[in-house]
């Protein structure tokens, strides 16, 4: 399976309140709230760490979940966020120029 890389979208606002990430997209003014696990994935979305590694380090290490199931859920989660412009998802590391 190819690696998946994730980075924050650029046309959005975000703030962490009480350990939950609140995100507003400029495109459609949709406000979203990520739960604790989603926030952990968001925090780790640096464009260079593969999603698989993020799930192992930030999800499986912290929560009692099956690795494959967690990865499947995470892939679905990041694709959902990508369709809303909240995350950029790529099969290659994402550089700063690709985020602008």
């Amino acid at each position: 399976m190819n690696a998946i890389y994730i980075a924050h979208g650029t046309k959005l606002a975000g703030r962490k309140l009480k350990n939950q990430m609140i995100i507003m997209t400029a495109r459609d003014s949709v406000l979203s709230s990520l739960n604790e696990v989603g926030t952990a994935i968001w925090d780790a979305a640096d464009g260079v760490t593969p999603l698989e590694e993020i799930v192992e380090q930030k999800v499986c290490a912290e929560y009692s979940v099956d690795r494959n199931e967690a990865l499947r859920d995470a892939e679905e989660f990041v694709q959902d966020l990508a369709s809303d412009g909240i995350l950029i998802v790529s099969d290659k590391p994402i550089g700063l120029e690709e985020r602008s």
Partner: protein, 365 residues
């Protein structure tokens, strides 16, 4: 989005967090609007570095919604540096501008920086009326051109229409203009006293029958019967409510670093040039006093039939002399909506009668 916003506000309120800040980056302006509450001279604005530091501090404190306003924001040569810093801190940014100085380059930057909304004041669809209010010839043409540039780039624009005697008959035209431009439209019949308490501009506002007619226009208020319905009886829940977000989850910072509960509530509560934002937010005696006030603590308004539905602004009340007192402008709005006089209006009428009796007594001595 509504319920999540409410949840967010409630979370911030419960945790005592500031969620929303308006930062005026300058009071300088290229327009001289007849109803403006600001002094447009520069008395020593915060530097770029000071503003960036304030932005860092308020981001750390949890502020999410940031309004950058003025004066005219683009009078600052460093405005885009400030905006870029704000967006790097992931604020949800709204800009208030007259759009006069927005050309292709500025519109591109605003789009590229992911500003969510730009609010532009338009007073009339007719240049002779709009330009007479702004006292800047050609301002309507330039502002509309600026709006078009923003809209063509997908930036959401809100046209704010302050309603006063001078443009009373033009709101339908402004609304049509907003539709043609693809912008949102909001109307506000409130004229705010000047920051120093000078109330000389208040008579520019509409009142009486004119206000009644505005409040009975379904194009502006939606369901007229609902909007103008008599107020329901207030229960304990209403009496325990806080008046608005000012000082609770929101505050205002002037170009000189002064912190107030709201732009319309100029109660000096600290200065970010000499104190950390979070220290002011948590420890200001003034902010804590504002936070302590509930509807039941308002000596006149708690006895008023409108207490549960009035738009009473504590800032306007403060500028009338007492932050726990009534805001006469809001009393007039409640009366215009429902035809029912407020407790404040009844009290004033009774005082007028008594004052007459006192004078008669004086003359007979």
């Amino acid at each position: 989005m509504g319920s999540l916003i409410q949840e967010l506000n409630q979370t911030a309120l419960d945790a005592g967090l500031p969620i929303s800040v308006q930062l005026d980056v300058t009071y300088r302006c290229n327009e001289r609007c007849v109803h403006c509450y600001l002094d447009h001279d520069d008395h020593g604005e915060m530097t770029t570095a000071e503003i960036k530091d304030v932005l860092d501090q308020i981001a750390d404190a949890g502020v999410f919604f940031l309004t950058l306003s003025g004066g005219e924001v683009l009078m600052r040569m460093d405005f885009f540096e400030i905006l870029e810093h704000a967006r790097a801190l992931l604020f949800d940014v709204k800009i208030k501008t007259n759009a006069f100085m927005i050309r292709e380059k500025e519109a591109d930057r605003i789009r590229d920086l992911g500003v969510r909304t730009v609010q532009v004041s338009i007073y009339s669809h007719r240049a002779e009326v709009h330009d007479a209010i702004t006292k800047l010839p050609g301002s309507l043409k330039r502002s509309v051109a600026g709006i078009r540039l923003l809209q063509s780039r997908g930036v959401k624009v809100i046209i704010a229409n302050v309603l006063m005697r001078q443009n009373l008959n033009d709101y339908a035209g402004v609304k049509e203009l907003a539709q043609e431009l693809g912008a949102e439209y909001t109307i506000d019949p409130t004229i705010t006293p000047k920051m120093d308490g000078d109330r000389s501009i208040i008579p520019l506002g509409i009142e009486g029958n004119d206000l009644r007619q505005v409040f009975r226009n379904p194009d502006l208020v939606g369901n007229v019967d609902e909007f103008c319905a008599p107020p329901p009886a207030a229960d304990d829940g209403v009496m325990d409510e806080t008046p608005c977000s000012a000082g609770h989850t929101a505050c205002y910072i002037s170009p000189y670093g002064e912190l107030f509960p709201c732009v319309q509530f100029p109660l000096p509560s600290g200065n970010v040039r000499t104190q950390k934002f979070i220290d002011i937010w948590q420890n200001s005696i003034q902010l804590n006093e504002v936070r302590s006030i509930r509807a039941r603590d308002l000596p006149v308004c708690s006895t008023c039939s409108h207490v549960g539905t009035c738009t009473r602004c504590p800032g306007l009340a403060y500028m009338e002399g007492n932050m726990r007192g009534p805001s006469t402008q809001d009393c007039e709005k409640s009366f215009a909506r429902t035809g029912i006089a407020s407790a404040n209006m009844l009290m004033k009428a009774s005082r007028t009668t008594l004052a007459g009796l006192v004078q008669i007594a004086g003359l007979t001595q």
